[in-house]
């Protein structure tokens, strides 16, 4: 036990140039017998005069020249293996001592996570709600600018006094630059129009769907074939006949014969019963 303690005695060793992989210090080509130069015992700025600090003192190790065995080195201490020295650059303890303390943010934190979350989502939803309203309003207003203004709509209406049209007569008026046929149909004509098997027609449409009042038939007087104006009370079916290409329309304005693809168009119209007016448009 005592011998081990003796072996752990700390000593000063000369600095080594490098360290071998085994951990043994290696200092090749060091002249260990160099001593202070003769006649150099004066100070001219290179430190105090004395024994060199890079040479171990004589009581630790010595190198002597023996006549029999040449150069003999004697060391009286076990040198510690130095190993490969690596700096530990990662550390955690030192900055905590150097850096100032992180401030206390607890005053600024939310008191309740649940409330914070609810309020956050509520604000997000409210912004979405407002954005959706703005988008909807923008689109609606933009589309409104494309609609016809009130004065244009007022000019686009035509009023006809129905009392001036006797039964069984046609009236042709101009509405938005197009002729409009108004036919005051007799009861026989209504019967004929309603009894037709309209499902077998080219453009199947019932007379009830085409008229608002059975005795009044209102149609745009433009042939659906190529745009001629048909002649009233003519044709094979007692209705209208287009002279251009020979389309026949019946008393309900439905195409029955000829090249026309569809029935005569029924414009939007309303009856003003109080004043006895027909309003087209």
């Amino acid at each position: 036990m005592a011998a081990i303690q003796l072996a752990k005695k700390a000593v000063s060793l000369p600095p080594t140039v490098r360290t071998l992989a085994s951990g043994v210090p290696s200092a090749p080509l060091v002249n260990l017998s160099v001593r202070e130069l003769v006649g150099h015992g004066h100070a001219h700025g290179h430190g105090a005069v004395g024994p060199r600090s890079d040479i171990p003192p004589q009581w630790v190790s010595s190198v002597t020249a023996s006549s029999t065995s040449g150069l003999v080195s004697k060391s009286f201490a076990n040198a510690r293996t130095t190993g490969v020295f690596q700096k530990r650059l990662l550390h955690s303890t030192l900055p905590a001592q150097i850096e100032p303390q992180v401030p206390d943010f607890s005053h600024y934190e939310a008191k309740s996570d649940a409330t914070n979350r609810g309020v956050s989502y509520f604000m997000i939803g409210s912004l979405g709600l407002l954005s959706a309203s703005v988008a909807k309003s923008t689109v609606t207003e933009f589309l409104t600018t494309m609609a016809a203004s009130a004065d244009v709509l007022a000019m686009a209406k035509v009023e006809i006094e129905l009392g001036t049209i006797p039964e069984g007569k046609n009236v042709i008026i101009k509405w938005r630059g197009k002729p409009v046929f108004i036919r005051h149909r007799t009861q026989d004509e209504v019967q004929e129009a309603r009894s037709t098997n309209w499902k077998a027609l080219r453009d199947p449409q019932s007379d009830e769907a085409r008229t608002k009042k059975p005795e009044w038939l209102v149609m745009v007087g433009v042939c659906t074939h190529l745009g001629c104006v048909p002649i009233g009370e003519a044709g094979d079916y007692g209705g209208w006949f287009c002279p251009c290409h020979g389309s026949h329309y019946d008393i309900s304005g439905r195409v029955r014969k000829g090249p026309a693809p569809t029935n005569l168009e029924v414009p939007q119209h309303d009856f003003d019963d109080a004043n006895g007016l027909l309003v087209i448009g």
């Binding site: 609810g118 509520f122 979405g128 709600l129 959706a132």
Partner: protein, 62 residues
């Protein structure tokens, strides 16, 4: 407060479909309500100046 927030989160926000749907429904309701509110404010602000307020003085319904 936290209970109300949790209720709101669990019923409305948790499913995105419900969230988005409620946002659009709320936008519709908001648009209607905003329109009504602004109109009533306008009418009350201009009380006695609009035609519908003074119509009785000039037109006798026969």
């Amino acid at each position: 407060m936290a209970g109300f927030a949790n209720l709101f989160y669990n019923t409305v926000v948790k499913r995105n479909s419900v969230y988005v749907t409620s946002i659009f429904a709320g936008a519709f309701a908001f648009g209607v309500g905003f329109d009504i509110g602004i109109t009533s404010f306008y009418d009350s602000w201009n009380k006695g100046k609009q035609w519908k307020d003074i119509r009785d003085k000039y037109v006798q319904d026969s």
